[in-house]
Amino acid sequence: MDNKEILLTMRNISKSFPGVKALDKVDFTLRKGEIHALLGENGAGKSTLIKVLTGIESMDEGQVTLEGKPIHVKNSQHAQALGISTVYQEVNLCGNLSVAENIFVGREPMAFGRIDWKTVNKRAKELLKNLNVDIDVTKTLDSYPVAIQQMVAIARALDISAKILILDEPTSSLDAAECRKLFSVMKQLRAEGMGIIFVTHFLDQVYEVSDMITVLRNGELVGEYEARNLPKVELIGKMIGKDYEQLQQIESSKKTSHEAKENFITCRNITSEANIRDLDLDVNKGEVLGLAGLLGSGRSEIVRALFGADRILSGELNVNKKRIKRNKPITAIRNGLGYCPEDRKSEGIVSELTIRENIILALQAKRGMFRFIGRKEQNRIAEHYIKLLDIKTPGREQQIKNLSGGNQQKVLLARWLATDPELLMLDEPTRGIDVGTKTEIQKIVLQLAEKGMSVIFISSEMDEMLRCCGRMVVLNDKKKLGELSGAEINEQIIMEMIAGGKSV
């Protein structure tokens, strides 16, 4: 690797926010023709480092040099002008503009003093074709699914950037095929001499494409490693900075059999507005049921339908042997269901409210507006769960937006646990969360099930599913392909089922 020409160096970068030292004398080096994974737990400082590099945050001290020349990035425009572009986890484009415009807005080709729309559309089409995406580029962006939007974002970044491409969690909304497509593009760009910074939580993906790995922890640099010389186990150790025994503990405590369990939910022929069609599903008491499938397989849509977040158009839904007619979130909650949605930020937390208020929210709604929970009891409940779930916060009156992602997720868990649910549905509860908290959440899930609560668990990390679930329903294309339980559960079989389902 050393023979490669150095593209970017960041030396002694420090950045403080009120009360937090986000970066403490961090070094980072990127070479030409290199895919460099930037890893770390949440709060390790990855996103701050990226923000400093792209000019969104200013650093307190440190030097950045690009191709040997010192630079001081002022804002994102400046970063782009220098040849540094970024694709963010959440698609940061404008849904109201056409696909082509999203690629070219701000730097449209002009002819005779006006935007040359023909060229815009033609070039957009070509750029997307290079990424194997063939779509009508004159349609508005929001008429396409997220995966396509992500590709459009990449196309834009590629067309702008000549030197450095930063991919911040680009794969979290892509399915396997789309990931593969993205990786081949990344490799192609690497061959062309581009430096790519790759931030992700999927460790397998790191090994699939990365040359180098830089690990951060608590705002400090742990080290820079060559990917092929760093075993995965060691990497995890460096990221969490503690023994990964915990992980193995869970492995061993994996649920055994679930025979003769009482039934909690039965669905027959459910069709929902989000296109779940004629689905049959049973959930037993005290089991952890995994919904396995790729993005868009219907795993999220099923729990949304059960919870009343999406309308059920036809079919029969029974909860506790009671037929549910008009399912709304509040009805579901009163029937003993709880639901942590996939999109924690926009559908989970209420950012302005305090931790206490976020925790009691669903319980209060369950009781109704006029059966007010007194302040004393609110405090008691909040303190109880802060302790129980080990939520790291200066106090219950902190606004939830000040917490890290993992702690926010714990508050959401507390919100539902406070309602004393019989079935808890967790959609990607560990996404974007550091490894340590991940393990804690998995543990909690298993403990809850032991106490007799049913859990529906969805995760795009197969390892996690395998660890937690006693039974799995495999889904593809909004249809149930089959069920596995106990010893039958096996990564290989699930993959084959999904692959088989796809070819039919």
Partner: protein, 343 residues
Amino acid sequence: MKKITTNQIFWPLAAFIVLLVYNAFFAKNFFKISILDGHLYGNLIDILKNFAPLALLSIGMTLVIATGGVDISVGSVVAISGAIACSIIDGRLGIFDHSFVAALILALLSGIACGLWNGFLVAKVKIQPMVATLILMTAGRGIAQLITKGKIVTINSAPMMKEYYFLGAGYFLGLPFAFFIVVAVFTIVMILVKRTAFGLFLQSLGTNPKSSRLSGIKVDRIKLVVYTISGLMASIAGILISSNIKGADCNNAGLFIELDAILSVAIGGNSLNGGRFMIPASIVGALFVQCLTTTVYALGVPPEAISLLKAIVILVLCLFQSDSFRQKVFKGTGRWRKGADAA
């Protein structure tokens, strides 16, 4: 000290006090309260009387703004409610002629109906609040004109005139009766906000409606209720205003009062994006706006210049509440030191 200045009510209260202190020095007899015809009399009492409609509107507006909405139709609802009440008192509607009770009930019902309409558009049809209430704002004065058949209704000689006039301009225990109405309404709303989960739900849905729905909050119903309350407040304000001038003037009653109400809420330091809110702060805001008007009159400045003063007040208050403004202006001291500490 920091705790006090970060309290939401601090800034509006400070502004109000500054205004009072200014008056103490520059406006003659501003604080003089005498007894006239068996009740208290003076500038301060005038403020209490005249700020009643605005205070009511700002209560409703605070709730609406907390949901992330806005109700710009309240001025028109004021006109409608005044038109209905005065037309009945004057006996020109053809039904319930001269009935005091019917006038009140129908006027209040009109406000509720207007509020329900707004709430229906916002909560059920899912139209942006500003646009939804723009409809009634545009139509409202036309509707009021329909009720009064395009005339200015005066109730000087109507049989129940005295009783009606008492509501907005009468005195009770030496204080303006309208002030007691404000106190009563304020108390009821505060009980609703603090002693039930209504306040929490409002803040929650104003911050994040999606999360709120998934937490089991009946988002649509709360919105409907909030707009209805706003409509009801506007109709009470309409009664007070028309009672005070002994008549309904569809073109001018409550003109621009929606702006004053929003201004009061903003001066109260409530975020206009919804979420956190504080009704007492809005009331102080309304008090401030009214006090400003009274001050201008007391100083003998041409009343037209009030809008100029309001503009300056809006700018100063908003700028001081704006974090980025404080940072930019005071960065010479605050930021510098922080940087030095870090190094």
